[in-house]
Each structure stands twice: as structure tokens, then as C-alpha cells.
């Protein structure tokens, strides 16, 4: 009987998993799960600190591990040099751009974690609500505040979201990509609704984000289904084979490209799928906004680029005009509507829309040739790094400018900030200049690198449009600087809360990064170039 069973057993080979190459991702996910256990068993009194330390150590370990993985990547010679290999039965690719994105995401997460752990700004409590089940303004809420309750689940949520982002950016088939997308999004939906102050706005933002996110995921999923119908596989490489051999069923292919793009464009916040951005950025707790602005954008752009370049590279003449139009619309709408904003966080949200447009310019250029010139991949990676660092720095500044009701985000209250706190206002001015793309800041080199990639890709007209919209965008960035330094404060003027060392370090590091990337961009640009292209 036993032998019979053995003989009948279907021949299932155990999947091979390259643990060593995947370890940074696994470390983050593992620490997240440990954090859930800590949440359950650790005494409440010291739980906040324990969670913060655990997350910090986990992120540091993952970052070191990422460096190790990047160094160990094998060179792959094709038309274009790449580094790395598909792993886990082809579900994930550990390649140069992917691992570099991991590194970026880990840095963003570390900076954001410091903002998550900041407790000095709001009377010894974090930026997150004490007990999310209490309705805003209820007696229960007051009691939670009195008891000094804190949701420490925010730390595992951050780690899960990060794991999702990392998976999203390096997924090698469309299903894994979808899983990554959702693992990234669900914790973020939750985090958005956890603000301690202005909870109604926060909950509204959370709900909006969730509904629209789910809505757009459906488009993505529908696109995945159509792609499977066209190519008979979820693997990006298989789809590429089908596209290049033109197996027929153009309608299916085009609809798949369109719908997958819609899902991606929603995540990066491109027009006309951007409308959630200002509402969510404004409502979410500012540390979450900072993490989202930097991390989601980076992960989504890399995943989008991977799908377009790897799976649909053979059909690039079909999707490039689409991106051309969307990029133009996104830059113009983002830059123009930002002018009318009176709230710092909303203005930064529209600024992030405009930046999505600039990034799309580099993507539409689709310049992947192996030459000394900057490719779209390396241009975008550099831009994402600079944008992420400056964004986190800018939102960190927002957390510090406060009045009795919490953060004062109305721009009129920022007048005269330069007199109140020159260091803070100076850093914010530096981030604004970087966003505007003024030379000697990282933003300038970033814009230059994506625009030069687009130019090499033959999209000169779009570059011209990009430069013109940058000029428009400079208007509202510089306006904030004028407001801070050259306008007299209204009434008592802004007050700057004294943050703990955590926020201070974040602002200082972001400012230093923004400046160094502007003055000595060489090493980082070289690194982005060295990453090579995607490995299929």
C-alpha cells in the first residue's frame, strides 16, 4: 500500500527559491511579522519604543543586505547590459534597477520611520490616533488621549507596505505584481485614516483612497487578464515573446496595455487619475504622506517601467504616444492647479502630480540604448531618489510648523517663518528650489537626467514642454520662499515646535542629500547607470 501510494504520488518538484538574493525582501516581511507578535505580547508601556527600535534595526539590516545583494549581482550581456537574474521560479527578478529601488525604498522607509517615531511634537504622543475605533470628538477619544494610548500597529503596517513596494518593484510576472501592489496599498489605506488631529479629514482620505484604489486595481486586474488572454502567460518575458512575434489579437494586447497603464498611472498620480492625490495627501498623517509620496511613487514607477520595457517593449510605438499625452497633461495640470492652492500639503500633492509628469517624460522617451548617455531607467531612478529625499524633508518640515490645533498647513500662516526659524525655513526653501529644478540642487540634476533621456529617445518637443512647465511650477515654489522670508507674519506668526532629534536628523539629512546630489551627483548617477537595464 505504501509503495503504491509512493508510486502514485504525482511528481511535484519543490520550487527553488534563491533565499540569498531575496533576503532583503524577506527580512522586511519577517520583521513585519515579528512586529505583529510584539504587538500582541510586549507590555504596552514600552511597546512604542520596542516597535520603533525593532523596525529601525530591521530596516538597517535589510539595507545592508541590499548592498550585499547588489554587489553580488551577475552581469548579463544582451543588447543592453543588465545585472541579476529571475528568481523564485521566475516570479521575481532580482536585477540592478530592482535592487537599487529596494535601496531607495529602504532609505525612504528609514527616514519616514523617524517621523513615525517622533513623539515630542504633540505633547509626548505620536502623530497617530490613540484609539481608532472612537468616533472623532467623542468621549472615548478624550479618554484615549487622557490614558495616553497609542496605536503602535503603525510600525508593522509601515513594514508590510514597504515589503509590498519592494515586491511590486521587482515582480517578474503580472500576478506577483498585483500581489505586491495590494500588499503595498492595503496598509497605506489604513495608515491614512489614523491621524491624531483632524480625524474626520483623515478618515475621509482613507476611505477615498481605499475606494479609488480598489477601483483602479480592478482596471489593472482586467488588463492582466487580457494580457494573459493574448500571450497565454503572466510572465513578462513570455508576454514579450508573444508581442515581438505578433501572434495576433492586437485588440487584446492594446486593451491590456491600456488597462494596466491605467492601474499604474493611478498609483503614480498621473492626470486624469490623480484626483485622489490632494485629498489623501492632505488628510493622511503627515509622516504617512511623506512615506507615500516617496515610496509609492518610486515603487510604482519602477514597476510601470518594468512592465512597459520588458513585457510590452516590442509594442513601444503603441504606448509611447499615450504616455506623451498623459505626461504633458500631468505636467500642465499639476503645475497649474498647484498655483491656486492655499494649503501646504495640497500644494505639495499637486507638486507631486507635476513631478509624476516630469518622470513620465523620461519614461515616454523610452531610451534604453547602451551608451554613455543617460538611459530612461537610470534617469528615472536618479529622479526618484532626489524627489523622494526632498519630499520626505519637505513633509518633515510640515510636521514641525504647528499651532494649538496641530500642524498649521494653511500657507498664510507660514508667512515670516524665515524670521521665526531660519534653519527650518532655509531647509524648506532648499527643498522647494530642488522641486523647481534650480541648479546646485538635486532636483536640477534629476530633471536634467530624465529630460536628457527623453531627448535621446527622440521626444524633444515633450522636453521643451517639460522645461516650460517647470518654469510655471517654479512660480509656486518660489512663492512659498517669498512668503517665508519676505512677508510679515499675520498675527502672532507661525510657531515652530521643537522636535526631537529624530525629525531634526530627517530634515538635516534630507537637506544635505538634496544639496549633495545637486553639487556632486557623479557617484549616484554612475550608480544609476551601472544598474543597467531590466533582466527578464
Amino acid at each position: 500500500m505504501a509503495t503504491l501510494l509512493l508510486a502514485d504520488r504525482p511528481d511535484i518538484a519543490a520550487p527553488t527559491i534563491e533565499w540569498s538574493l531575496l533576503s532583503p525582501l524577506l527580512v522586511v516581511a519577517g520583521v513585519a511579522m515579528v512586529a505583529v507578535l510584539v504587538e500582541t505580547f510586549w507590555p504596552r508601556r514600552t511597546r512604542f519604543t520596542a516597535q520603533a527600535v525593532l523596525a529601525g534595526l530591521g530596516l538597517l539590516a535589510a539595507l545592508l543586505d541590499t548592498v550585499r545583494v547588489y554587489v553580488s549581482l551577475d552581469r548579463v550581456d544582451g543588447d543592453v547590459v543588465g545585472r541579476g537574474t529571475p528568481v523564485a521560479e521566475g516570479a521575481v527578478t532580482v536585477d540592478g534597477p530592482g535592487v537599487l529601488t529596494w535601496g531607495l525604498l529602504l532609505v525612504f522607509a528609514l527616514l519616514s520611520l523617524a517621523l513615525f517615531a517622533e513623539r515630542r511634537l504633540d505633547g509626548g504622543l505620536s502623530a497617530f490616533t490613540g484609539r481608532a475605533v472612537d468616533p472623532p470628538g467623542s468621549a472615548g477619544e478624550a479618554e484615549a488621549t487622557r490614558l495616553r494610548l497609542e496605536h503602535t500597529e503603525t510600525f508593522p503596517l509601515l513594514l508590510f507596505a514597504l515589503a509590498g513596494m519592494m515586491l511590486f518593484a521587482s515582480a517578474n510576472d503580472l500576478v506577483t505584481m498585483f500581489v505586491g501592489l495590494e500588499v503595498m496599498s492595503l496598509p497605506l489605506y489604513l495608515l491614512c485614516g489614523l491621524a491624531r488631529r483632524r480625524r474626520l479629514v483623515s478618515q475621509e482620505a482613507s476611505l477615498k483612497y481605499f475606494l479609488l484604489g480598489a477601483f483602479s486595481s480592478v482596471f489593472f486586474l482586467y488588463g492582466v487578464a487580457l494580457a494573459y488572454g493574448y500571450a497565454g502567460s503572466f510572465r513578462l518575458a513570455d508576454i514579450d515573446t508573444a508581442v515581438t512575434s505578433r501572434t495576433g489579437g492586437e485588440h487584446l494586447l492594446l486593451a491590456a496595455i491600456g488597462l494596466i497603464s491605467v492601474g499604474m498611472l493611478f498609483k503614480v498620480g498621473a492626470v486624469p487619475f490623480h484626483q485622489w492625490t490632494p485629498d489623501v495627501y492632505q488628510g493622511a498623517p503627515t509622516p504617512v504622506t511623506a512615506f507615500m509620496a516617496a515610496g509609492t511613487k518610486a515603487a510604482a514607477f519602477v514597476a510601470f517601467m518594468r512592465v512597459l520595457f520588458v513585457a510590452f517593449g516590442g509594442a513601444s510605438w503603441d504606448w509611447r504616444p499615450l504616455l506623451w499625452v498623459v505626461a504633458l497633461l500631468t505636467m500642465v495640470v499639476g503645475s497649474l492647479v498647484a498655483i491656486a492652492q492655499t494649503d501646504v500639503k495640497r500644494m505639495l500633492a499637486y507638486s507631486s502630480v507635476a513631478h509624476a509628469g516630469f518622470l513620465l517624460v523620461g519614461l515616454a522617451g523610452a531610451y534604453v540604448a547602451d551608451s554613455e548617455r543617460i538611459t530612461s531607467v537610470s534617469g528615472l531612478l536618479f529622479y526618484l531618489g532626489v524627489y523622494g529625499v526632498s519630499s520626505i524633508g519637505a513633509f518633515a518640515v510640515v510636521t514641525v510648523v504647528r499651532d494649538a490645533g496641530g500642524e498649521t498647513t494653511h500657507l498664510s500662516r507660514w508667512a515670516g517663518l524665515g524670521k521665526e526659524s531660519p534653519f527650518l525655513a532655509g531647509s524648506f526653501a532648499l527643498f522647494m528650489l530642488s522641486f523647481a529644478g534650480i541648479p546646485l540642487t538635486g532636483g536640477f540634476i534629476g530633471k536634467w537626467s530624465v529630460f536628457s533621456a527623453a531627448w535621446s529617445g527622440g521626444y524633444g518637443a515633450l522636453v521643451v514642454a517639460g522645461v516650460l512647465t517647470s518654469a510655471v511650477a517654479a512660480y509656486f515654489y518660489v512663492r512659498v520662499i517669498v512668503l517665508m522670508f519676505f512677508t510679515d507674519p499675520v498675527g502672532d506668526g507661525p510657531t515652530v515646535a521643537l522636535p526631537s532629534v529624530l525629525t531634526t536628523v530627517v530634515i538635516a539629512a534630507a537637506a544635505a542629500g538634496t544639496m549633495v546630489l545637486g553639487i556632486l551627483p557623479g557617484p549616484v548617477l554612475d550608480l544609476a547607470q551601472h544598474a543597467g537595464t531590466f533582466v527578464r
Binding site: 477615498k208 479609488l212 482596471f219 486593451a255 488597462l259 486624469p272 499615450l322 497649474l336
Partner: protein, 626 residues
């Protein structure tokens, strides 16, 4: 020491910068540090000079390079210096007179709470002036040129709380800028035409490698620079206003050293001017016009410092004139420059001493009979007076005599004008002496003239001695011989009258000037206030108004420029700003319009996503399949 001669620049430079950054603790000894730095520079210069004397004649030039300043393609500039007979004389003059004036300033500025800063500026001036005269490259020279301009600006405006001082500093700076444009263009032209800005190379090759028109252009541009720095017509207007600065500044910068930089430049660029006769003639004309204009102004001013400033202009006119005569005059230009440095510094410091005793009043109509009140000042000033009018045996006698002689060698009319200038010089200097020292006293109430402290009179005595003895430099043709390696051999024209005859004629003219002034100003008592403009002759009126130099500048430059700026401001406000503001307004309107879909309703956002998706997919299909 010859290899270390660049230290003469470094020592005052370091001291000056140090004094500027030194805090209040430096106030107590700052002036001593500054003076010692200047004295150290003088000692270094003196030792180097003696060593240069000891060398054989054809080896009296030490060049060196500190470092490469600019190296860009074919453009190469070294921070190079050259210590040769010409620069050696200047180093001695600048550091020697400079040190005496530092000493004098200790007393003069004793009650000024910003004395440390004053000495810092003086040190910086000395460093810049030495850079100028030691430079072996026109660009390095330009560095010193701008440095002395800056120091002059800072020192004229030292009492910046007085609006008149601030305005005078600005005026000097702006007029010097005009000249500096000439210098800068000249250097660019050198590089474009000759491929180098090295002083040696340019002067050696300009005759062979560049056309005469290029040499003329170079000469005229350099002359423009020289006019600005040396207050020569037409850029003379700043010098009289510059007397707003403390008197030691007037003595050091606006009499003895900086204002002679133009003469130095012309003599140093002798290769260029020898190759450009037109430019040389221009130099002669400028010198001659300034000589007479300055003398005219000197005759009419009642402000003792302004009278001396007019005299300075006039004397520099003499030097320019000599420099324009070519090899026949270079050595005498420098000779007069040195003697003038002695006696004019002496007289300016004397004037400062007088002001010190007269509660800072500068109006000579309030002076008189100071001979008794201030015997040392009177005696030293008197020696300076005898030197400048050219009393036989005094230094000015030798130096001016040679220039007039050389001018007659050039042309009879030039010589005659120079001779006339000598007479006028005697007139206005005698007028100054009479009004200040010998006439009956016309002191205002509450003024009690007294002799200045020892720290101020000792430099006066030293300078007076030099004023008297400076003439020895010319004995046996020493100075011509000494400068020969730099400016070439001095040819002597044979005149119709022998040299001693010439001297007698000059002395006679001077005597007439003295006699005229004496009789005019001792015959009737001098009024306490100046007669109104309507009551004086046209010439006097013109002199009082500085020959209308300010009015000319105002009409030709200032007013047209002001009109132009008004037009530009109007265009900027209406046209440019209108366009920009209009554009910004339109963008704002568009922004308001574009935000209308941002309703806050999830349903409308979802609709936007749905419509967007439909458009994306349908457009893809339509474009590709159509």
C-alpha cells in the same frame, strides 16, 4: 633678500587683513601693529634696494613667479613680480612715505574710535600699491590697480557718517571705474593681439608684432586708465572731492603715491608708447591741460586741502607731460614724481597739522599768523613751499627745471606753457603761505591754535628734510643712469639757451609769480569770507567751480543716463512687467478653472478614472488600428 622682495606685499597685506578681523581687543595696539608692518616693509625694500645697487648695471632686475594664477588654454597668467630700478624707487617711496604717514596718523587719528580699521585700510593700500608697482604682468598690475582703488574708496569715505564723504567716495570710485574700463580693454587687446599680458613681453614685442594702430589703441586705452587714477583731465573731477577723507589719506594716497600710478603706468609701458607717437602726443596734451587747469583751480580755492589738491593735479600734469615726451622725459617724470611725493606729502601733513590746531577748519580765510602759533609746522611747510615753487637748490628746482627743459626740447609752445605753469604754481603757493601763516590773524571765536604733538611733527621734519635734499638724486645724472635699464637712454636736446640760462629764466618766472601773489595778498587785509561769485573775474569763478568739470560730467553723462534709466524703468514697468504680470494672471485664472473638477466627491473622481480609462483604451485602439 632680493628673492624675498615679495614679502613687502605680504607683510602689510597680512597685517591689514588681521587688523580687520581682530576684535575690540585689537583697538589698543592696532595702530602700532599697522605702523610696524609698514616699517618692516620699508626695511625689506631698503635692504633689497641696497642689494640691487650692489649688482652690476646690466643685472639690476630680479623677476620671480609666486604661482600660476590663470592657466586656461593659451591664456596663461603667472603671479609674477619684477624688482628693477623703477619698481625699487617706488617701493622705497611707497613704504618710506607710507611709514611716516602711519606714524603721523597715530597722532592724527588718536581720538577716532575706529582707528584700528583706519590702519587696516592703510596697510591694505600699501599692499595693493606695492602689488601694482612690483607686478610683472598687466593683469597682476590690474589687481593692484583695483586694490588701491578700493582702499582709496574706503579711506575717502572713512567718515561715512558725513554724507559728503560718502558721496565723495562714490564719485571717486565711479570715475576710477571709467578709467579702469580703459585698462581692462587694453589688457584684453594685448591678449588678443600679442597673446600675452606680461609687461616685459608686451613692451618688447609690440613694436614688431602689432601694427601702429594697435599700439596707438593700446596707448590711448592705457592713458584713459592713467587719467582716471591720476585725476587727469577729463577724469579729474573726483580728486578735489576726495579731500573729504582724513588728511593723512590725502597725503599718502591723493598726493604722494596712488595718484602717480598713472605716470608709473605710462613710464612702465614705454615700449607701447614709443611705438605709438599719436598716443604720446595725447599724453603730452593731457598733461599740459591738467597742469594749467590744476594750477588755475589752486589759485582760487580757499579750502587749504582743495588748494593743495589743485596743486597735486597740476604737478602730476607735469609728470604726465614729461612721460609723454618719450625717452627724453621718462626719467624726469619719475624724478619729479619722487620729489613731489616728498614735498606734497610734507605739505598735506602740514595742512593736517594746521587743521588739527584750528579745530578742523579748512577755510584759509579763517587762518593767518599761524607762524608763531605753530613754528614747527610753519618751518616744515615753508621748506615744502620752497621745494614746490622750485627755489634754487631745493628738490623741486631740479626736477621741474628738467621737465621744462625737456618740454622746450619737444616744442617751443609746450615749453612755454610748462614755464607759465611754474609761474602760476609760485603764485598760488605763495597765496597759500600768506593766507595761512604770515597775514594778520582772522581766527574764529573759540579757536586756539597750538602746535601738534611730537608724533605728528617728527614725520613733518623728516619729510621736510627729504623735500630739501631730494634734488641730490639728479646730481651727476644719477637718476637717468639708474633708470636706463628700464626706460632706455635719455637723449638731450640741444637748446638754443644753455641749461644754466634756462634755470635762470625759470627762476625769474617763479620770482614774478611770488612777487605778484605777495603784493596782491599783503596790500589789503584778507576778508573773512570770500567775495561773491558775481564780484570776481570770470577766471576766478571758473577756478572756484573747478573749471566746471562737474557741470560737464553732469550734462554729458549723468543727465542723459538718468533720462535713459527713466525710459527703461517705464518700459520695464509697463511692457515687461505688464507681460509678465498678465501672463501670471492668466495662469492663475487657468488654475482656478482647472481645479473645478476637484469636487471632493469620490463618485466624480471615479467617473474621471472611468472616462480616462475609456479614452486611453479607445485611443490606443483607434490610433493603432485605424
Amino acid at each position: 633678500m632680493l628673492d624675498l622682495v615679495w614679502l613687502v606685499v605680504v607683510v602689510p597685506l597680512v597685517s591689514g587683513l588681521g587688523l580687520l578681523v581682530w576684535g575690540k581687543e585689537g583697538d589698543r595696539v592696532g595702530h602700532l601693529v599697522g605702523t610696524v608692518a609698514s616699517a618692516v616693509a620699508f626695511v625689506i625694500g631698503l635692504v633689497a634696494f641696497v642689494q640691487l645697487l650692489g649688482r652690476p648695471e646690466d643685472d639690476r632686475s630680479v623677476a620671480g613667479t609666486l604661482f600660476t594664477w590663470i592657466s586656461s588654454g593659451p591664456f596663461h597668467v603667472d603671479m609674477a613680480y619684477r624688482f628693477d630700478p623703477l619698481s625699487a624707487l617706488f617701493v622705497l617711496l611707497v613704504t618710506g612715505v607710507g611709514t611716516l604717514i602711519h606714524v603721523y596718523s597715530i597722532g592724527y587719528m588718536a581720538h577716532d574710535e575706529r582707528r584700528r580699521r583706519f590702519f587696516a585700510y592703510l596697510n591694505l593700500f600699501v599692499a595693493a600699491m606695492l602689488t601694482l608697482v612690483l607686478a610683472d604682468d598687466y593683469l597682476v598690475l590690474f589687481l593692484g590697480w583695483e586694490g588701491v582703488g578700493l582702499a582709496s574708496y574706503l579711506l575717502i569715505g572713512f567718515w561715512q557718517h558725513k554724507p559728503s564723504a560718502a558721496a565723495a567716495a562714490k564719485k571717486a570710485f565711479v570715475l576710477n571705474r571709467v578709467g579702469d574700463v580703459g585698462m581692462a580693454l587694453a589688457i584684453m587687446l594685448m591678449f588678443a593681439q600679442l597673446g600675452t599680458s606680461s609687461i616685459q613681453a608686451v613692451n618688447a614685442t609690440v613694436a614688431g608684432q602689432a601694427s601702429e594702430s594697435v599700439a596707438t589703441a593700446l596707448g590711448l586705452l592705457l592713458l584713459l586708465g592713467a587719467c582716471g587714477k591720476s585725476a587727469q583731465v577729463p577724469l579729474q573731477a573726483w580728486l578735489l572731492d576726495a579731500m573729504e577723507g582724513p588728511t593723512p589719506v590725502s597725503a599718502l594716497i591723493h598726493a604722494a603715491t596712488m595718484v602717480t600710478a598713472g605716470v608709473y603706468l605710462v613710464v612702465r609701458s614705454n615700449g607701447i608708447f614709443d611705438a605709438a607717437p599719436v598716443a604720446q602726443t595725447a599724453v603730452v596734451v593731457v598733461g599740459l591741460v591738467t597742469l594749467l587747469a590744476g594750477a588755475g583751480i589752486g589759485c582760487t580755492k580757499d579750502d587749504i586741502k582743495k588748494a593743495l589738491a589743485g596743486s597735486t593735479m597740476s604737478q602730476i600734469g607735469y609728470m604726465m607731460l614729461a612721460a609723454g615726451l618719450g625717452p627724453a622725459g621718462y626719467a624726469f617724470a619719475i624724478f619729479h614724481l619722487v620729489t613731489h611725493g616728498f614735498f606734497k606729502a610734507n605739505m598735506f601733513l602740514g595742512a593736517g597739522s594746521v587743521m588739527h590746531g584750528m579745530s578742523d577748519d579748512v577755510d584759509m580765510r579763517h587762518y593767518g599768523a599761524l607762524r608763531r602759533a605753530m613754528p614747527v609746522t610753519f618751518a616744515t611747510f615753508g621748506l615744502g613751499y620752497l621745494a614746490i615753487i622750485g627755489f634754487p637748490g631745493f628738490s623741486g628746482f631740479f626736477s621741474k627745471d628738467r621737465i621744462i627743459e625737456a618740454a622746450f626740447g619737444e616744442s617751443f609752445w609746450v615749453g612755454l606753457a610748462a614755464l607759465l605753469g611754474a609761474g602760476v604754481t609760485a603764485f598760488y603757493m605763495t597765496r597759500l603761505m600768506v593766507m595761512t601763516f604770515t597775514s594778520p590773524k582772522r581766527w574764529l571765536d573759540d579757536v586756539h591754535p597750538h602746535e601738534s604733538p611730537r608724533v605728528m611733527t617728527v614725520p613733518l621734519v623728516v619729510l621736510a628734510a627729504l623735500s630739501v635734499l631730494g634734488g641730490v638724486l639728479v646730481l651727476g645724472g644719477w637718476i637717468e643712469h639708474w633708470l636706463e635699464p628700464v626706460v632706455g637712454h635719455t637723449e638731450h636736446h640741444e637748446l638754443a639757451v644753455p641749461a644754466w640760462g634756462m634755470s635762470i629764466i625759470v627762476t625769474a618766472v617763479v620770482a614774478v609769480g611770488v612777487a605778484l601773489a605777495w603784493s596782491t595778498y599783503t596790500r589789503s587785509p584778507i576778508a573773512g569770507t570770500a567775495p561773491a561769485d558775481a564780484d570776481v573775474s570770470v577766471l576766478t569763478r571758473a577756478g572756484r567751480h573747478e573749471l566746471y568739470g562737474n557741470a560737464v560730467n553732469d550734462t554729458l553723462v549723468v543727465r542723459p543716463t538718468r533720462h535713459l534709466t527713466r525710459v527703461l524703468v517705464f518700459l520695464d514697468a509697463r511692457l515687461v512687467d505688464g507681460l509678465v504680470r498678465g501672463l501670471a494672471d492668466r495662469l492663475g485664472d487657468t488654475s482656478q478653472f482647472l481645479r473645478t473638477p476637484q469636487t471632493g466627491y469620490v463618485r466624480s473622481y471615479a467617473l474621471s478614472i472611468l472616462v480616462g480609462s475609456l479614452v486611453v483604451v479607445l485611443a490606443l485602439l483607434a490610433v493603432t488600428l485605424a
